[in-house]
């Protein structure tokens, strides 16, 4: 087990390095460096002190040096907690992060919880009652869930709520609570807002998880050990929940690996449409204005988040299923 954990950790470090390289490549893609635009702006306003600070910043981030040197410098800065400088918001990137990261993680975490709690009961139900009306309904829901883009679902829900209540649901808080400290009233306000994004983010992933769970469970239901248990007179409910469901859930834990990228991808689009105070709208704005240090750091952060999630799911999987950590089966 220790060997397995070390191997996984090493792979994770390698992946993170590769990811950081990709992110830095994206930062470097736009022609000219970030300072060109910034310095031009300062020069036009005749700000000589600003010109000097631009030169200082350029040296600090090594913008006048070759790609690899810049990359190493960037990585070193990040390791010491300096994610670069957002030239649009005129703030260090880490400061921008700090103010929004909590809400981002909260919304994504809620979405994952909702995703599993929708998908698992439906998946089990439609496998046990195969071809029943409920199963058909779940299948149709699954197909539509996969076919409707997240942003469209968010728009539709927004429009429907507007038609029904006449109010616009945007953001996560009503205006009066946006800057207020947490209280019961604020929590309630948050809950009345958060269900739309959470539902939207969860749908696409839930549709996929239902399909996987249903297929896995159907494979298990015909196995001899199920027949044996039934012959012994075990109640149907205990029988199903105790044996085949547990086996069918194992590959599901492995799906965390792709559920996380899906959830993060869809939370970005959804948060932008619904104008949530999360990191995603900042990413879009940063990209549109080519504020690349901020954008690169955000992409790196989102990538690392999924890598960590995948690592945790791998370790969990190895803990649940000894066949995986000993390498007897491919997961």
């Amino acid at each position: 087990m220790i060997q397995f954990i070390i191997g996984r950790l090493l792979a994770m470090v390698a992946m993170t390095l590769a990811l950081s390289f990709v992110c830095f490549f994206i930062i470097q893609l736009p022609p000219g460096d970030v300072m060109t635009a910034y310095a031009a702006e300062l020069a036009s306003s005749g700000d000589s002190a600003g010109m000097q600070s631009a030169q200082l910043l350029r040296e600090r981030y090594g913008l006048d040096q070759p790609f690899t040197v810049q990359y190493l410098k960037w990585v070193r800065n990040i390791l010491s907690g300096d994610f670069g400088y957002s030239f649009n918001l005129k703030k260090p990137v880490s400061e921008v992060f700090g103010s929004r990261i909590g809400i981002s993680l909260l919304v994504e975490g809620l979405a994952i919880v909702v995703l599993w709690s929708i998908a698992i009961p439906i998946g089990i139900y439609s496998a046990i009652r195969r071809y029943s009306a409920g199963d058909m309904f779940a299948t149709v829901f699954g197909f539509i869930g996969l076919a409707v883009p997240n942003f469209l679902l968010a728009l539709l829900l927004m429009y429907v709520v507007y038609l029904l209540t006449g109010t616009a649901v945007e953001g996560l808080f009503s205006a009066e609570y946006a800057r207020a400290p947490w209280s019961l009233a604020k929590l309630w306000d948050f809950l009345t807002h958060v269900w739309i994004p959470v539902l939207v983010i969860a749908t696409g992933g839930a549709a996929q998880v239902i399909r996987v769970l249903r297929a896995n469970l159907l494979d298990e239901l015909d196995k001899p050990y199920v027949v044996t248990a039934r012959a012994k007179g075990l109640s149907e409910r205990r029988l199903i929940m105790r044996y085949p469901v547990r086996v069918a859930m194992i590959p599901l834990v492995a799906t965390v690996g792709w559920v996380l990228p899906t959830v993060i991808s869809s939370s970005i689009v959804t948060a932008i449409v619904l104008n949530l105070p999360t990191l995603s709208p900042i990413l879009l704005r940063a990209l549109l204005s080519q504020d690349m240090h901020l954008a690169g750091a955000l992409i790196l952060f989102m990538g690392v988040l999924t890598l960590v999630g995948t690592l945790v799911s791998d370790l969990l999987l190895a803990w649940i299923d000894p066949r995986i950590r000993t390498g007897t089966i491919d997961k």
Binding site: M15, A18, L19, V22, C23, I26, L29, P30, P31, F143, I144, L146, A147, V148, P149, N150, F151, L152, L155, L156, M158, Y159, Y162, A168, E170, G257, W258, L260, P261, T262, I264, S265, S266, I268, V269, I272, V273, L283, L284, L287, L288, Q290, M292, A295, G296, L298, I299, M302, G303, T306, L307, T310
Partner: protein, 396 residues
Amino acid sequence: MTKPTSAHGPLTESSVAGLPAAPSPAPASLSGHGTETQFQLVWRAFKAHRLAMVSLYILVLLYLVAAFAEFLAPNDPHDVNARYTYAPPQELNLFERNEQGDWRFRPHVLGYEVEVDPVALRRTFVDDPSTKYYIQLLPKTHAYKLWGLIPAERHLIGVEGRRAVLFLLGTDRLGRDLLSRLIHGARVTLSIGLAGVGLSLVLGVLIGGVSGYYGGLVDSVIQRVIEFIRSIPPIPLWMGLAAALPRDWTPLQNYFAITLILSLIGWTELARVVRSRFLSLKSEDFVAAAKLDGATDLRIIWRHMLPAFSSHIIATATLAIPSMILAETSLSFLGLGLQTPIISWGVLLQEAQNLRALADAPWLLLPGLLIVVTILAMNFLGDGLRDAADPYGSAR
């Protein structure tokens, strides 16, 4: 699967006897030697899938519309009408009562009358029964070039007259005809799905083939790369790459760059399928036989292995198109993908981005409906193809 076809002779004959009414694409070969090609077998299995057949018809129709967009669109999609911003869809009346009181078939629409609310200063459109615009078949309206080459001015339908307007699906913020824009958008959105998957297919077959055929170190390096790409969330990566595109590129350059970006990440699934097929076929007798015959690697792959799993590749590729379309639409919707003046369904949905526009003009969500229909049809078609890809019936 590439065993001599005669081995399947009895199987084919019995299945033909069981289905005497089944129309076969090549009856001559049936009566001749009682064998069918791989393609005929797959096609027969596919036809049994009713949902997939319906989806195929829908998709063929959509692609035909995309191909003849200029001819089918009643208006110029870029034509701005300041008088008719956010005009609602016109009702299409098929029949008209003439002086004798008989109903006659004369499709027409009513003109708009604009009423301004004196308090809110909001404009509302109402039907104007006094102006009727008759819809003509093949009228000469605005000039265009079919596929940018053939000059023409006839359209399938249209209205003639200087003040005549035909907005069957309403107009957008600038008074442009939504129907025409949808038809033109179909061309871009549907083709970018195909082009992106085509490019991914090349990458996937090449890389997956190398990985599966040679194995060993090459295989594990490629597998790690694939794992890496699949473990990072695609949308931020796409967004980052798309945002870096130079702003002064022409629409065409932009289009190809976005296609390239989408397929740079999209090839991994195809590569995985190709690799696993290669791995399972590598140990087959016919591959060993070809090797002993002294065939080159390239010839073995091209002549013996590829035909054996081409139907699987086609099925996987079809299932990959929806995610391409979804990605393009999402990127364009966010303003990072295709840019105006290119019209794609994602670009059109940008118009519906805020609640105000939606409340005033809910018909702007129609591109979304088309996206959903297209993706559903693609998924059903892909599922049908996947089931039919192995016509020898191991699964059924």
